[in-house]
């Protein structure tokens, strides 16, 4: 009993702030980048710059929220980019002949069903998430190309009106409806993750699947639910991308799964699962967006620096996570 009781009081005060540390670091990084940009470039430190980051990355934000659920259970979803592309492609090809509300419901259903199917295969047939979602990625991308290899423009009045609406927030400040949708998704996801049973199950399964099972938690349902959420979020992200691009194309969102994973990791979520916050993911997306803004302000830097900087940031944050885990509790990987 003595040996059991001893580490507990030491551990508790340590682990609590430690859990928030990565999120705090990401937040500090975002503020530092914004301040540095404001000092270096003229016209950078305005509210609209931050709003633009939201406007340009609303779809990534939604996709990254779904990815957070999956990564929190210790899984990974490589199919998100392809599902986004598939959504734009299906919407663009159906819209001329189908009412837009039906199209929206249909693509959301397709995303959800695809996610649920992958989740079921992962859980019931015990195949690694990596391989199953890789197959899902091939499948969705292949379906895009079977629909068509060219870019299809979207002329539907509902879609174009959403695309062109500007919601004024003040003088010279505006956001697009997509940002509102993305923020609503973030709020809903935060509520689900932190205030519902499903959310607690997600953390429990990610912490230790075996323990969760022995505690009588619905592991199967939880795992299928997170992949369904990720599929739904990808489809919704695809809709937001259709609003943003007003076209459907099989090559939209190539490599987006990497951006989403990077945003989640930079946001401080442990890739082994069980630890992380949605706020971190939001900050991660903002940091990625701000890097692009800084590079476009710099002008002389070429676009490939974005990738190198994101890679370096990933490295730093993963090393930081590693440091926290090893010096923190006696938790195993």
């Amino acid at each position: 009993m003595k040996t059991l009781a001893r580490p507990l009081p030491r551990q508790l005060p340590r682990t609590l702030p430690r859990n928030y540390l990565p999120v705090l670091v990401t937040g500090a990084l975002f503020v530092a980048m914004f301040v540095a940009g404001g000092i270096r470039y003229e016209g950078f430190a305005t509210g609209q710059i931050i709003l633009n980051v939201f406007i340009d990355n609303a779809f990534l934000l939604v996709v990254a929220v779904g990815m957070t659920f999956v990564i929190l259970t210790g899984g990974i979803d490589l199919s998100v980019g392809s599902v986004v592309a598939l959504t734009t492609m299906i919407s663009a090809s159906l819209l001329p002949s189908t009412p837009s509300i039906l199209v929206i419901l249909l693509v959301l259903a397709i995303g959800g069903v695809l996610g649920a199917a992958m989740g079921a295969i992962i859980h019931y047939f015990e195949i690694q998430p990596f391989i199953v979602t890789l197959a899902g990625m091939f499948l969705a991308r292949g379906l895009c190309y079977t629909i068509g290899t060219d870019s299809i423009p979207i002329n539907d009045p509902t879609f174009t009106s959403i695309a062109q609406t500007q919601i004024k927030l003040g003088p010279d400040l505006w956001i697009s409806p997509s940002v509102l949708i993305a923020l609503a998704v973030v709020l809903l996801a935060t509520y689900t993750l932190h205030y519902t049973r499903t959310g607690r199950n997600v953390y429990a399964v990610g912490g230790n699947e075996q323990s969760a099972l022995l505690m009588g938690l619905p592991v199967a349902r939880t795992k299928i639910v997170v992949y369904t959420i990720s599929g739904l979020c990808s489809a919704l992200g695809g809709l937001l991308l259709s609003f943003y691009m007003l076209s459907g194309y099989g090559l939209h969102a190539v490599g987006m799964e990497l951006d989403a994973i990077a945003a989640v990791v930079i946001g401080g979520t442990l890739l082994t699962g069980g630890s992380g916050y949605l706020l971190g993911t939001v900050l991660g997306v903002l940091v990625l967006g701000l890097i692009q803004t800084v590079i476009s302000f710099e002008g002389t830097l070429s676009s490939w620096w974005t990738k190198i900087v994101i890679g370096l940031l990933l490295l730093i944050f993963i090393l930081l996570q590693r440091l926290i885990v090893t010096t923190g509790a006696t938790r195993d990987r």
Partner: protein, 343 residues
């Protein structure tokens, strides 16, 4: 041999489809002293994939994964082309060898970096190599300055597009690397050590195996294979494209390894299975082109193949289907009978 039955059967099925639908598929002829034919083409265009998959096999045997091979392919091709384009005479053999050496050295250095992240710092392999996968494309474009470097060098052209002893040179390179790998891993102790690290890294460390060193060597070898594949790809088209060279080759390579029967859980690997897996993927691509299915559907076929192969290999799937025979699962029922006889 039993483990190879499935990939062999699949390859045979694919070839059978070709036998029925494609004329002259199995014809091999000699033109200008070179071998020509669809079968030779499968080997020739599949050579980079086989190489990358070989390296990937060893990484997966240590229960790791290397996502960065596509980026390493791009980087090594870009580096070699950059060095050759700065030579005064692009046909000088010494200069080309130097460029190849620099490119491969860079690839090995990147691989060692991956290995250190995985073994010394202890990051999950999928994440450690994700870093290089993201940053590597940027690095490749940094090397080429965002341009496509075009070169005109006969010695370099030999690596990916040339012939030697009537055979495409790429096939000879693959055969050499395969023979060397098979010798080192199957005749020497290294293969056993790799499998033990993959089975249980901690237990093998306690039994006196230097798992750190082995991991670093394995990741460096994987990057070296990717580097050679990068040279082949860039030499075949005499140019380096930082953006598109080796795009998605990591996924094809992992697919080849999985089809070949190496478990992603590590601890066991099959080099011949991997070669078969890579050949299946290449034959699938060739078949789709030759029987006139639109090439856009290649990905659909791949998705189908991955799903079927993974389901068949999953013990949970076999157990469930065996128990519930009533559930219709056409491709699996046949699989099931053979498997149950065996176990």
């Amino acid at each position: 041999m039993k483990r190879l039955a499935w990939p062999l059967g699949m390859l045979a099925a694919l070839l059978l489809v070709n036998l029925i639908f494609t004329d002259h598929f199995f014809q091999i002829e000699i033109k200008d002293g070179h071998l020509y034919g669809s079968l030779i083409d499968i080997f020739r265009f599949g050579a980079p994939l086989i190489l990358v998959a070989l390296g990937m096999t060893l990484v997966i045997a240590t229960s790791g994964i290397d996502l960065s091979v596509g980026s390493v392919v791009a980087i090594s091709g870009a580096m070699a082309c950059l060095q050759i384009s700065s030579l005064t005479s692009q046909d000088s053999i010494g200069g080309v060898l130097g460029a190849v050496g620099i490119a491969l050295g860079l690839a090995i250095a990147l691989g060692v970096g991956n290995g250190v992240l995985v073994s010394v710092i202890g990051i999950q392999p999928i994440i450690a190599t994700l870093i290089l996968m993201v940053a590597g494309r940027g690095l490749a474009q940094l090397i080429t300055d965002g341009q496509i470097i075009t070169i005109n060098s006969d010695p370099y052209k030999l690596i990916g597009g040339g012939y030697w002893l009537t055979l495409p040179f790429g096939i000879i390179i693959v055969a050499a690397v395969l023979a060397l790998t098979a010798f080192i891993t199957r005749r020497l102790a290294l293969g056993l050590l790799i499998e033990s690290v993959g089975g249980n890294a901690e237990a093998s460390r306690l039994s006196g195996i230097r798992s750190r060193g082995i991991l670093i060597v394995v990741y460096a070898f994987c990057a070296l294979c990717a580097g050679i594949a990068g040279l082949m790809i860039s030499s075949n088209v005499s140019s380096a494209d930082g953006n598109n060279a080796g795009l998605w080759i990591e996924l094809d390579a992992i697919l080849a390894v999985v089809i070949g029967g190496t478990s992603l859980a590590g601890g066991r690997f099959s080099l011949s299975g991997t070669v078969l897996g890579a050949l299946i993927i290449q034959t699938l691509t060739t078949t789709i082109y030759s029987i006139g299915v639109p090439p856009e559907t290649t990905l659909l076929f791949k998705a189908l193949v991955v799903t079927i192969v993974c389901l068949l290999q999953s013990p949970a799937f076999r157990a469930k289907v065996f128990r519930q025979r009533r559930r219709p699962a056409p491709p699996a029922v046949a699989a099931d009978e053979k498997v149950t006889v065996r176990t």
